[in-house]
């Protein structure tokens, strides 16, 4: 089972280490972790995707809530959130596969953001599943470098009154 923990944390040095340390010490998985400032400079948003059985996932939420640097934890499943991931992939191409790659980019909504005679860098921003699907299409091609942000997530807007 996968679960997303969107945590508002104090924007201080050491907080990332404390949260990562918690996962390490208690043998919780981190599938992905992203951190960034929020509209309030003193607060950062940390989105952690983890997987495990129900009890582990519940413990993760409780242990996160216990951390004194964490202001608020929102826990939700993938279906309850809007999830996005950005990937940058640098590949080596040739005359034979160039067209295929471009077609795949077009189908999947990826963009070529850098290009040379033999290499190109493709950018894609989509749900983690679609990002993975696109990367799978590149399996037969030589990937020179790849960078992914990990999952960013925010809960879906519900009926009015639910959002504060």
């Amino acid at each position: 089972m996968k679960r997303i923990y969107s945590c508002l944390v104090e924007n201080r040095s050491g907080v990332l280490a404390k949260v990562a340390g918690l996962f390490w010490r208690r043998c919780f998985n981190i599938d992905s972790l992203t951190v960034g400032e929020t509209e309030d400079k003193t607060v950062s948003n940390m989105v952690i995707v983890s997987s495990g059985d129900e009890r582990t996932l519940e413990q993760i939420e409780k242990q996160l809530n216990k951390k004194l640097d964490i202001i608020k934890v929102k826990t939700f499943d993938e279906s309850e959130g809007i999830t996005q991931e950005l990937v940058l992939v640098k590949i080596r191409y040739n005359r034979d596969n160039r067209k295929d790659i471009m077609e795949n980019c077009q189908i999947m909504g990826a963009r070529i953001v850098d290009l040379s005679k033999s290499m190109m860098t493709i950018k894609m921003c989509d749900t983690p599943e679609r990002v993975q699907m696109f990367l799978d299409t590149l399996k037969s091609i030589r990937i020179v470098e790849l960078a992914r942000t990990g999952t960013l997530a925010i809960t879906k807007i519900k009926e009015q009154g639910d959002e504060k």
Binding site: A17, L22, R55, K62, Q63, K67, D69, I71
Partner: protein, 544 residues
């Protein structure tokens, strides 16, 4: 005013009586400033013991214990003491000196990343980078340490921050933390559920842990058990919540607990866990505990509930306030049959145990440890503090300690050898009128007997009984059963003569070699309020 002056002033504002510590250059400004206050300092002989003494002090008073040590090795030495306090949720504040801010991270002399090293066993830690933050951080540290689930807070202060000049010292009246609001009141719906379930239950039992002491809820829990005639068992940390002569009390559970206590837990159809973490030492298979019974788990720490066993009724809240609500009502159910059954188990086991013990006492040419603990407890003052160390002595202590109106301290969670003497020292300083007795094995004694000097220096009369068998008894016992007497690294040959140790530290010394002289020797041991070392000869083959 310097940062160090501010630190000392904060401690004064928190009504700190004692700082246990060990100086070094990086903490020197603090120890200089403390001279201008009425706070007393105690120089321990090894940093770890500063935390243990603060721990003993905190447990005896309910206040926060304070320790201060220098950077690098001073800080790393205190780690075990911090971890010990964390495992038992004891409120202490530890101040460590640190190298100059500009040098932090450059591996200079006596630099250690103590906050990084301690992260997983502090409740919270601070690195002070600006002296102006001192009042706020100190206020927060004391509040965090002694609220919610209590625990150690570490404050690391670079020497230049201690030397920095600040203006306008103002100690905040309260700690304002947007991220920390411990739950105090129990949820009313959950409380109702507990009562509803109690009405249906046939065989309920209450299992109390250290959290009951920490929440100062001993009386409330006793009242609840008494009002509703529900039997009670305890974990190691819960020893002392119930008086030993209470007919509704069925002893300690777990690996080293009573057979009838464990049987009661197994046969119960409803367990009310109070301030206990359902850990492996008290509950052998936590995941199976809920199979045929209702588990109610009451704890101030929500993360503790469901960590080791999923309860049917979780109840988060401060135990004292939860039981105050509990005690406003009564459950009309009768559990007479159940209680009678448990009493019969208890009587049967106790009778057999006593018979066996008497026979062993008669046959033994050395001291029978269980008999010694029983006699010691019977002769101690009614409100004495008993500090058990770790090892066989701890098992004998837990199994035979007699609770009247005293206190029982031990390192239950971490099982830190060498805890008892420094903790007893802290407890005696906290309450000099009380009799304080440390019971320790000859292995652990050699880990902490340097503190006899501290006892002498500050005139702290603690009574120490060293159970001496020349071995690391509990491991020896394990090797006896598991490896069929292939003893490895457990022989303590070469240990010092304890009479000479006592003499060297100016203490009175008594040797108790056999059961027949026990009464007389115990009288000598307990008679006066003086430091005294008693060597208790026990056969290495004794099993705990």
């Amino acid at each position: 005013m310097t940062g160090a002056d501010a630190l000392a002033k904060c401690l004064q504002n928190e009504h700190v009586e004692y700082v246990f510590g060990y100086p070094g250059v990086a903490i020197a400004p603090f120890f200089n400033s403390i001279l201008d206050t009425d706070i007393k300092t105690v120089l321990v002989r090894q940093e770890q013991n500063a935390a243990h003494s603060a721990n003993g002090y905190a447990r005896a008073t309910g206040k926060v214990g304070v320790a201060a040590v220098t950077s690098g090795p001073g800080a790393t030495n205190i780690i075990t003491g911090i971890a010990t306090a964390f495992a038992d949720s004891i409120p202490i504040v530890v101040i460590t000196g640190q190298v100059k801010s500009s040098l932090v991270g450059s591996d200079v002399f006596q630099e250690a990343d103590i906050c990084g090293a301690c992260e997983s066993f502090v409740k919270y830690s601070y690195i002070l980078r600006d002296a102006r933050d001192i009042p706020r951080i100190m206020k927060e540290a004391f509040y965090i340490a002694n609220s919610g689930r209590r625990g150690p807070v570490l404050i690391d202060i670079p020497i230049d921050v201690q030397q920095e000049e600040i203006k306008d010292f103002k100690y905040p009246e309260e700690a304002k933390l947007r991220t920390y609001k411990p739950t105090v009141q129990g949820n009313t719906v959950q409380i109702k559920k507990v009562f509803a379930r109690l009405k249906e239950a046939k065989r309920p039992i209450i299992c109390v842990g250290g959290g009951v002491h920490l929440a100062r809820a001993v009386e409330a829990v006793r009242t609840f058990a008494d009002n509703n005639r529900i039997p009670v068992v305890c974990t190691m940390m819960g020893i002392g919540v119930m008086k030993s002569n209470d007919p509704m009390f069925f002893g300690m559970v777990g690996n080293n607990g009573n057979s009838y206590g464990n049987r009661a837990m197994n046969e119960a159809d409803m367990i009310i866990m109070v301030g206990a973490r359902v850990a492996d030492r008290s509950i052998s298979q936590p995941d199976l505990i809920t199979e045929n019974k209702t588990l109610v788990h009451i704890d101030v720490d929500p993360a503790e509930i469901g960590k080791n066993a999923g309860p049917e009724i979780p109840l988060v809240g401060d135990i004292a306030s939860v039981f105050e609500v509990f005690n406003q009502q009564k459950c009309d159910s009768e559990y007479t049959e159940w209680v009678d059954r448990l009493k019969a188990y208890k009587k049967e086991t106790e009778d057999k145990k006593l018979q066996k013990l008497l026979e062993r006492v008669r046959k033994s040419s050395t001291v029978t440890p269980e008999e010694f603990i029983i006699e010691l407890c019977q002769n101690m003052k009614d409100d004495a503090i008993y500090v058990a160390d770790v090892g066989q002595n701890q098992m004998w202590s837990c199994g035979n300690y007699i609770m009247r109106n005293g206190r029982f301290f031990t390192s239950g969670g971490m099982g830190t050898m060498g805890y008892s003497i420094p903790a007893a020292l802290g407890a005696k300083l906290a309450d000099p009128r009380k009799q304080v007795v440390a019971v320790i094995g000859d292995g652990a004694f050699q880990m902490c007997f340097m503190e006899l000097a501290t006892m002498r220096q500050y005139g702290v009369p603690v009574k120490i009984a060293v159970i001496k068998n020349g071995w690391l008894g509990l491991v020896r016992q394990y090797q006896h059963f598991t490896y069929k007497d292939r003893f490895s690294v457990t022989d303590l040959s070469g240990s010092p003569e304890l009479d000479k140790i006592a003499e060297a530290y100016g203490m009175k010394y008594i040797k108790l070699s056999n059961n027949s002289e026990m009464a007389e020797k115990l009288d000598d041991f307990l008679e006066k309020d003086e430091s005294i070392l008693m060597e208790v000869t026990v056969d290495p083959s004794e099993i705990a």
